[in-house]
């Protein structure tokens, strides 16, 4: 399957990424290689094979419904690029 630059731009947009023309070309090549490899894999007949949903053959890992200590807001603040009055501050993402 051939990946067009348009597809790369679409994926970038979905991820809210801005790519330069150079970066689009680079991603087109890299994603293309991955997809080509998938094309090879998809030639294998898997009609009777159940999909591997998890690399471990385990099921049912649970936690109990109990509250453990939350992360202190100070620590979160230190990780956040911008923080104001206890909130993460991000560029506005809707138009009024």
């Amino acid at each position: 399957m051939y990946i067009t630059q348009e597809t790369v731009r679409h994926i970038a947009k979905l991820s809210a990424l801005e790519l330069s023309d150079e970066e689009v070309k680079k991603a087109q090549q890299q994603i293309g290689e991955i997809i080509n490899y998938m094309d090879i894999l998809s030639k294998v007949d898997t009609t009777d094979v159940e999909p591997t949903l998890h690399i471990h053959n385990a099921i049912n890992a649970f936690s109990e419904d109990i509250i453990l200590e939350a992360l202190p807001v100070e620590k979160i603040k230190a990780m956040a690029p911008e923080f104001q009055d206890g909130y993460f501050k991000v560029p506005k993402f809707i138009n009024n």
Binding site: H10, L14, L53, E64, I67, I76, G86, Y87, K89, K92
Partner: protein, 477 residues
């Protein structure tokens, strides 16, 4: 006029009343300081792994059983991708093609007719954070306390045709989640949210029309009003030959119209795939049997019990089970004074009437079950009349005081003193000689006029039965 029919399907999101989040251990409380209830999983920090909260599965099975769903033996979680800052991971963990509960139904009643509404699926997922968009500021603020709070999404079949059917379905579902004790059901706070899908087609058409999704419906009334408005609008457009476009609208509760949301720049492209960080969820027979054994009483069972145990009529029982809090309130009241019919009447007329008038939820009722029970007891033992009881109720409502203190403070005790009552009767008859003559001439309807005058003269405090009896005797003399 052409024959147009509306097709309605609903998506309900309920927040589960667990202690901790669906995939991590911070609390699900509301009203806490922003970002004070987060953890590395909620924040989507690198290298963390989500682990499923077992209680969420218990709640899902409960609701699945109560809505006649099949419980899937092996469910899979999926990543639903979208880039929005209220979910720091860049995807929501949800379910896609293997939801835990599927193919169920609920019965609704509209206009005395029963109708079965199909439930397509009930899936487990995580809630998102809250965004605050400040006017005239180039940034938004994010609080991730709500991110990761467990949700069940309940998707109905497009089986509803009228806004009232949608309202009835939502009320039944709301009643159910509260009886099951899996969700507190507060719609204002968004613990029970509804999105409605609605389209209009020719009554005999084979295919549904183009659907519009309506969001922001935070009360049953809004759902019904928004659907009625949208259906009318679509019918008009179709009759004018205009093509309906698929879009998402918001209900504007102030102007009572549905409004187009800003159309997204590109259509949703969620790129679902199985969540590799979570193991498959296997639910065996034992687990289901265990939940079944511990199921709380469902509304239909409470109904039967109220009718059987307390000999209530079906109409009253129906009213009392409408909300689990009401049924509990009723039974709690009975522990203070055992008069099922009397208490049921006070709840379903005075209490409901007042709540309705004040646009309040039953949960916020300021009168305790004990107070209502004592009030009925005061009537039953002849201490106050039914009429005075309404005055007492009004004071109870406004001040939160108990009925006995009110009766004492306001000197409202019913007068059953024969001499006093006779004095009042005599003076009323003396003051109304013309009416007395007319009465004696055969106009017996005037009896109630004398009763009214006597009640008034005593400030409604004489015992009405005694007054009736004595007045009758006096007039016969």
């Amino acid at each position: 006029m052409s024959d147009l029919t509306a097709i309605i399907g609903l998506e309900v999101h309920i927040q589960l009343a667990t202690q901790s989040k669906i995939f991590s251990s911070s609390a699900t409380e509301t009203g806490q300081a922003p970002n004070s209830l987060t953890d590395p999983v909620t924040l989507g920090l690198p290298g963390v792994l989500p682990v499923l909260n077992k209680a969420v599965v218990d709640y899902a099975i409960k609701l699945g059983l109560a809505t006649n769903c099949k419980i899937r033996e092996k469910s899979i979680f999926a990543r639903k991708h979208y880039t929005y800052p209220d979910l720091p991971k860049g995807y929501q963990i949800s379910q896609h093609d293997k939801p835990t509960c599927y193919e169920g139904w609920l019965n609704i009643r509209v206009n005395k007719q029963s109708k079965k509404i199909g439930i397509t699926r009930i899936q487990l997922e995580e809630d998102t954070g809250k965004n605050i968009h400040l006017a005239n500021e180039p940034f938004s603020l994010i609080d991730l306390n709500r991110a990761g709070v467990p949700l069940l999404e309940i998707v109905s079949e497009p089986d509803m045709r009228l806004p009232e059917e949608a309202g009835a379905y939502l009320r039944i579902l709301h009643q159910l989640v509260k009886y099951l004790n899996i969700c507190n059901g507060n719609m204002e706070e968004g613990n029970f949210r509804c999105d409605a899908n609605v389209s209009v087609m020719q009554a005999n058409a084979q295919e549904f029309g183009t659907r519009v999704e309506i969001k922001n419906l935070n009360s049953f009334k809004h759902v019904e009003k928004a659907l009625a408005f949208e259906i009318e609008q679509q019918k008009k457009l179709i009759e004018q030959g205009v093509t309906i476009i698929q879009e998402t609208k918001l209900w504007d509760e102030v102007n009572e119209v549905t409004k187009s949301m800003r159309s997204k720049e590109y259509s949703a492209d969620y790129r679902f795939f199985p969540e590799p960080d979570l193991l498959p969820l296997i639910i065996d027979e034992n687990w289901i049997a265990n939940i079944k054994d511990n199921m709380p009483e469902l509304p239909s069972q409470t109904f039967e019990r109220l009718v059987d145990t307390y000999k209530l009529d079906e109409y009253s029982a129906e009213l009392l089970i409408s909300d689990k809090y009401v049924a509990d309130y009723f039974e709690k009241a009975l522990t203070s004074h055992y008069n099922p019919n009397g208490i049921s009447n006070w709840i379903t007329t005075e209490l409901f009437g007042r709540l309705n008038k004040e646009s309040m939820e039953f949960l916020d009722c300021p009168v305790s079950p004990k107070s209502i029970a004592i009030l009925v007891k005061l009537i039953d033992t002849g201490i106050i009349s039914g009429k005075i009881a309404k005055t007492v109720f009004d004071i109870m409502w406004r001040t939160g005081k108990d009925p006995q203190s009110i009766v004492k403070e306001q000197n409202l005790i019913q007068i059953s003193d024969n001499i006093f009552i006779q004095e009042i009767i005599d003076s009323v008859l003396k003051q109304n000689p013309t009416q007395l003559q007319t009465y004696k001439a055969g106009k017996v309807q005037l009896f109630s006029y004398f009763v009214g005058q006597a009640m008034k003269a005593s400030n409604d405090k004489v015992n009405p039965e005694l007054l009736n009896e004595m007045l009758k005797k006096t007039l016969e003399q």
